[in-house]
């Protein structure tokens, strides 16, 4: 409990310092609860998510960093490894491959990497996964791009 607080506080300070260093990630701690964080990440370039800004919700367990934080997309995203409705993310480092050496910041980086490199063989979004597995890259990209426009880009006007 105390350890997780100290650790999160250190990460908070780190985030304040690194804000400039990584412009694709904006990690914000909840004002009243250090175990709740939100992150804004930019869709990686040369992917259908380019130009979108995606919101993530972090829920940090008290055993952190021995236990991984729970992360989900708040912004709708069409991605084989993200549940379309709940935003749950299928990512090994958020489950069995977690290491206490990871930080919230590095989790964000891992999620950006996942967006650029989907794993259609362990899908949470079957439609998306099937498109990719059947080789319909264009179909997948246009779907993903559409949802990026709909959900992850600022509304015009």
């Amino acid at each position: 409990m105390q350890a997780s607080r100290a650790r999160l506080f250190k990460e908070y300070k780190e985030v304040q310092r690194e804000k400039v260093a990584d412009p694709d990630i904006q990690l914000v701690c909840d004002d009243s609860n250090i175990f709740k964080w939100t992150a804004l990440i930019k869709g990686p370039s040369e992917t259908p998510y380019e130009g979108g800004v995606f919101q993530l919700a972090f829920s940090v367990p008290e055993q952190y960093p021995l236990q991984p934080p729970q992360v989900r997309f708040l912004t709708k995203i069409f991605h084989p490894n993200v549940h379309f409705k709940t935003g749950e993310i299928c990512l090994d480092i958020l489950k069995n491959a977690w290491s206490p050496a990871w930080t919230l910041q590095s989790v964000c980086r891992a999620i950006i990497a996942l967006m650029a490199h989907p794993e259609p063989d362990s899908p949470l979004n079957c439609d998306s996964g099937n498109l990719l597995r059947s080789g319909d890259v264009r179909g997948f990209q246009s779907m993903a791009k559409m949802y990026t426009r709909l959900a992850a880009m600022p509304k015009k006007g």
Partner: protein, 321 residues
């Protein structure tokens, strides 16, 4: 790699008292050690530091009793030994070549050449220093350590562990060692090596005496600076410093719980990958999933000291055969 330098420095210094005898004995001792098998050798070394240290100090030149059948055939891969035999400086190139050989197990051409280059530059000045001071200063420091009731043994073990882990982690980043020597010991500032520091990114991070992140086990070694320095000292010291730097340079706090690392924690090396954390977090991880946060490999439950020692053994075999 670095381990060689340590053995060569520590064992000889234990015994050397008179100039000539001391030197000869060092040669004999290392030659003998070379013949025996590796693990035997390591235990022998440890016990020598512990037990024989004081006894042979009294004997002084008693090292003659060690037989030395093939010193000259064997010293190809024992750079430090050569350095001790010929402090005259005409063998600089040979020394540095051997040095880098035993230094980089991977022997990748790049690291090889660069380390040759570096050590050439940094060591040539030292070879001119008198060897007579070596006996006096070294034995003096060892006496001091022996008084400290095996304190030195613990230290060397720590260093051995650190170096062992270091071997595993950075096979091809060996080149910064020679410049490191000078950056650590500011007694003889050298413009040449200053530029070397600039070239080599990681060398700039050597500890200054006032550095906060400097491990607490170091002051023991720095104490010996009060004795006149010579080339041997520089050699061994640099290797130690080098090993320490890479393994434990970053944390003054535990990366997991962010508490400050105390003396025990700083000398605690639970995993050969070199990832450090406090004992408290280590225990919690052992109770939980038992894998090292740094490399995700299972911690060895038989105790971290044994594990690192064993690994150190196996990888110190590489450069020798």
């Amino acid at each position: 790699m670095g381990y060689d330098s340590i053995t060569n420095v520590s064992i000889p210094t234990t015994a050397s008292n008179a100039k000539e005898f001391g030197k000869k004995k060092r040669v004999n001792r290392t030659a003998k050690l070379k013949q025996s098998k590796l693990d035997v050798r390591r235990e022998q070394w440890l016990s020598q530091v512990k037990n024989k240290g004081c006894k042979e100090e009294i004997n002084g030149g008693g090292g003659v009793k060690m037989h030395s059948p093939d010193v000259h055939e064997r010293n190809d891969d024992r750079p430090v030994m050569k350095l001790e035999i010929n402090p005259g400086g005409e063998e600089t190139e040979g020394i540095t070549n051997h040095y880098s050989d035993s230094d980089s197990p991977s022997n990748s051409p790049i690291s090889h050449t660069s380390s040759v280059f570096g050590s050439n530059r940094s060591h040539s000045p030292f070879t001119s220093s008198s060897s007579s001071s070596s006996g006096g200063c070294c034995s003096g420091s060892m006496i001091e350590e022996d008084d400290g009731d095996n304190g030195c043994l613990d230290d060397w073990e720590t260093i051995a562990d650190a170096l062992a882990a270091d071997d595993l982690k950075n096979d091809n980043l060996e080149s910064p060692e020679p410049p490191q020597l000078n950056s650590v010991i500011p007694l003889e500032p050298e413009p040449v090596n200053a530029t070397m520091l600039g070239q080599d990114g990681c060398c700039a991070r050597a500890w200054r005496p006032d550095d906060v992140s400097r491990p607490q086990s170091l002051p023991n070694l720095l104490k010996q600076n009060s004795f006149p320095m010579n080339s041997d000292r520089f050699y061994g010291f640099g290797a130690i410093e080098f090993g320490f730097k890479k393994v434990c340079s970053p944390p003054s706090t535990c990366p997991i719980c962010c508490e400050d690392l105390d003396l025990t924690d700083t000398s605690f090396l639970p995993c050969p990958c070199g990832y450090r954390l406090c004992l408290f977090c280590h225990k919690r991880i052992l109770e939980d999933d038992g894998r090292c946060p740094g490399c995700r490999k299972e911690y060895d439950h038989r105790g971290q000291g044994n594990a690192s020692l064993k690994l150190g053994r196996s990888c110190s075999m590489i450069p020798r055969h």
